[in-house]
């Protein structure tokens, strides 16, 4: 599972240890330009789209709202405000199915016309603006990590004083199969992304920046390099071996800087902050245009959709709206998930809204029910060779099954990043990462 590094030019491409090589299926959309579909007639803005406290609604049914107007927020620091993504009228504040599971409170807005923007006050020049203002702007704009975790970006931009940050990595790996949102953004919107990177680096006071991109996106590597030269930004674009989970923070840091984030630690413990290219794009739009995070690029793809596309989708658009913009599902489509196939969440209802973390909507005609039945573990060790966190997935799953949670804890079950590589490689089709998730949850309930 750890083959020789591929050679690009004369240089070995960097990578992390272990990991897996899923078929990437990116050809569906990696040459499709980002499209701007018609605005949805109704949007449903969940009050929680991020890690941390959910917001409280700031509007009531009947209120008129403008695009970019804040409709929900919390007083807590680790939280992020949410904004109206269309101009219209608040129809209701209600509890509806949320794409990450269960139900959640959402603001239902009925669109009444074209966009009227409620813009944030933008600085004259972000290069001279006080850092505190920029940080606040990022917070007000509701920016969270758009790679999938949705951690509030302003928190990441405020490392404790005792953590000296000396490097910034822009994450352009997009290691999940199918997804091409970041890829297309780098090809088409390189300058905006690099501006965002500049803003983030300035806020953090970091001199050294790096851009990590997997080698399966040669045009993105080329575009970002060309743009760096054009605007005179001195940051190296580092081609990384195409391997999953290359985009996981700890793996990316190991590949780019050869630093190891301590177990249970954060990137800032080794002086690094990582941000996704989508996040950098959102930062630019907030700081230079005053636009809150009301839209993001979503890859609508898979063999189950009629016309796979990359679309600039408004947050809160029902999945069904985007599916319709891509000419609908095929007859035999049996699964739809949000995010990539390795960590994405299966959906049963296409009325759920796009949230800030929706990097893709993948529609497939295959289903796991067609996979062979689960066989006993034959102790082949494939999961161990795949686990980039150096864990023993088969043992952890077994211990969870046997309810020996303390033993699983001692073996480091909490360090699992739930990338799914173990279940991906298991020849016995054992739901390894699924058991580990259960184990982590049960262990947290014990403590």
């Amino acid at each position: 599972m750890d083959p020789m590094p591929k050679i690009v030019g004369a240089v070995k491409t960097r990578t992390f240890k272990k990991g897996v090589h899923p078929t990437d299926y990116k050809a569906f959309t990696n040459a499709e330009k980002i499209e701007y579909p018609p605005l949805p007639d109704n949007v449903f803005i969940p009050l929680q789209q991020h890690i941390g406290e959910p917001g409280r609604p700031l509007v009531s049914p009947g209120d008129e709202v403008k695009t970019g107007q804040c409709v929900g927020r919390s007083d807590k620091y680790v939280s992020s405000p949410v904004h109206a993504s269309v101009t219209g009228k608040v129809k209701a504040i209600t509890t509806l199915p949320h794409p990450v599971g269960a139900r959640a409170q959402m603001v239902h807005i009925q669109r009444t016309g074209e966009d009227e923007w409620d813009l944030l006050p933008v600085p004259e020049d972000w290069r001279t603006e006080p850092l505190e203002n920029l940080r606040e702007l990022v917070q007000e704009a509701g920016i969270v990590g758009l790679g999938g975790a949705a951690f509030p970006t302003h928190v990441k931009l405020s490392p404790p004083a005792d953590k000296a940050i000396d490097a910034f990595i822009l994450n352009g790996c997009e290691c999940e199969p199918y997804l091409t949102a970041d890829h297309r953004a780098m090809v088409e919107l390189a300058e905006k992304i690099l501006t965002g990177m500049g803003i983030l680096m300035r806020v953090l006071g970091v001199e050294k920046g790096y851009i990590g991109i997997e080698t399966n996106k040669p045009d993105a590597i080329e575009a970002m390099r060309a743009c760096c030269t054009r605007i005179g930004l001195d940051v190296p674009v580092i081609p990384l071996q195409t391997k999953y989970p290359q985009g996981a923070e700890k793996m990316l840091i190991q590949a780019v800087l050869d630093r190891k984030v301590p177990a249970g630690g954060l990137p800032m413990d080794v002086g690094v902050i990582v941000n996704n290219v989508g996040t950098a794009l959102a930062v630019t739009e907030a700081v230079t245009e005053g636009k809150s995070l009301v839209q993001r690029i979503v890859t609508v793809t898979g063999n189950g959709i009629n016309t796979p596309k990359n679309v600039m989708a408004r947050i809160g658009s029902p999945f069904s709206h985007l599916v319709d913009c891509c000419d609908g599902l095929k007859e035999e489509t049996s699964q739809v998930f949000m995010g990539g196939p390795m960590m994405g969440i299966a959906q049963f209802d296409l009325a759920v809204p796009v949230i800030k973390a929706t990097s893709g909507i993948i529609c497939t005609t295959d289903s796991i029910s067609e996979k062979g039945k689960t066989l006993p573990c034959i102790r082949c060790g494939s999961c161990i060779s795949a686990c980039s966190m150096n864990l023993l997935p088969t043992r952890l799953a077994r211990l969870t099954e046997m309810k020996q949670l303390e033993a699983a804890g001692e073996l480091g079950i909490d360090h699992c990043i739930e990338c799914g590589s173990c279940a991906f490689v298991c020849p016995s089709q054992i739901p390894l990462v699924q058991w580990i998730r259960v184990g982590k949850y049960r262990l947290s309930q014990l403590n």
């Binding site: 897996v20 890690i51 199969p177 049996s334 960590m343 034959i378 060790g381 088969t394």
Partner: protein, 345 residues
């Protein structure tokens, strides 16, 4: 992302949801829900097992070439007995049939290849029944056994029929017919008891006395390399096993070349090649950790040299591997890798 439990919220009413559905009518189809990952690699247990069977074809072919059609019949009888036993026990346990996973076929085939050419068919069948019933199914079937079932079956036959299990015939003499076979010692036996060294080329090709599928080192290496390339066997195990035998055997030989055989002879003779590539690498009974695989291979090599040079028997591959099988849980326990980022701490 953490999700607040909203079920206690009474505002989760049907009217709202009906209105929303009206606003964006849902697709009426039923979608399948599963927990990620939703994409899977190409590996499967049957693929691994049937590849092992395929990788044993060259060795089985050489067995038939050197020892005649009787070898083919022996292979057939052992596989049949193994499959029949597995089926019967599946039925008794009320579990689904496990023949398609291919593991029972491997056990029967491997057992046949370790038997002397003139061994009785009924004895072979008995060994296969023992291998499956006591070596595997008693523990719970595939994945749960501690010892390599084929080797356990062979150990049972060795204990039950010590004379027949050490009566060897020379190749070619019995080809394509059951004419009288010429009894002869194996190269290891000749060395142990007569200090006779066999030609290396004959050892490599397999033109020597020995178990059906063990004589031709080259056929086994071809199959073994295929398994290593497909990653269906951990390369560390044969690497550790063979290099330990080579180095240790070489040391003894350097010290006293008249008393001890040369290291290449060690490598090519007896059941070492078959054992190192096909028995020691049995996934179920070997360690799951990379470091553990090294320990397993080196340990088996050590035990083998001790048995070959100091034991009462000329050959010890079977016991070397079975003993290391017993150590496997312990090895696994002490070679668990440290989680990422904890190694340095």
């Amino acid at each position: 992302m953490t999700e607040k439990d909203n079920r206690k919220d009474p505002s989760c009413n049907d009217r709202e949801e009906a209105e929303r559905k009206e606003a964006s009518p849902p697709d009426p189809r039923l979608l399948i829900i599963s927990s990620s990952p939703h994409q899977f690699g190409p590996g499967s247990v049957p693929k691994i097992m049937w590849s092992v069977v395929g990788a044993l074809v060259p060795a089985a072919g050489m067995a038939v070439f050197y020892f005649g059609l009787r070898a083919l019949w022996m292979i057939f009888v052992c596989i049949l007995a193994a499959v029949a036993t597995e089926t019967l026990i599946n039925r008794l346990r009320g579990v689904s049939l496990s023949i398609p996973d291919g593991s029972a076929v491997i056990t029967g085939l491997l057992l046949a290849l370790t038997l002397p050419p003139s061994f009785t068919f009924s004895g072979g069948a008995l060994g296969a029944v023992f291998a499956i019933a006591i070596g595997k199914q008693v523990f719970g079937g595939l994945g749960y056994n501690i010892f390599n079932p084929a080797l356990l079956g062979r150990a049972f036959l060795q204990a039950s029929f010590p004379v027949q299990m050490t009566t060897w015939t020379l190749p070619n003499t019995a080809r394509f017919g059951e004419t009288d076979a010429v009894t002869a010692a194996t190269p290891l036996g000749q060395f142990k008891f007569e200090l006779l060294l066999t030609d290396h080329l004959d050892l490599l090709l397999g033109n020597v006395g020995g178990s059906l599928g063990e004589t031709s080192a080259v056929a086994i290496i071809i199959g073994g390399l295929y398994l290593l390339l497909r990653k269906y066997a951990d390369w560390r195990i044969p690497a550790g096993f063979l290099s330990t035998v080579f180095v240790l055997g070489g040391l003894f030989w350097l010290v006293s070349p008249n008393q001890y055989p040369d290291p290449v002879f060690h490598l090519l003779s007896g059941g070492l090649m078959l054992g190192a590539f096909f028995m020691a690498t049995d996934m179920v009974t070997s360690p799951i950790t990379p470091r553990g695989s090294w320990i397993f291979g080196v340990g088996a090599g050590l035990i083998l040299i001790i048995i070959r040079l100091y034991g009462g028997l000329p050959e010890g591959v079977m016991y070397a591997i079975l003993l290391m099988n017993a150590f496997t849980p312990l090895i696994n326990r002490y070679t668990a890798p440290r989680p990422f980022g904890e190694e340095a701490a």
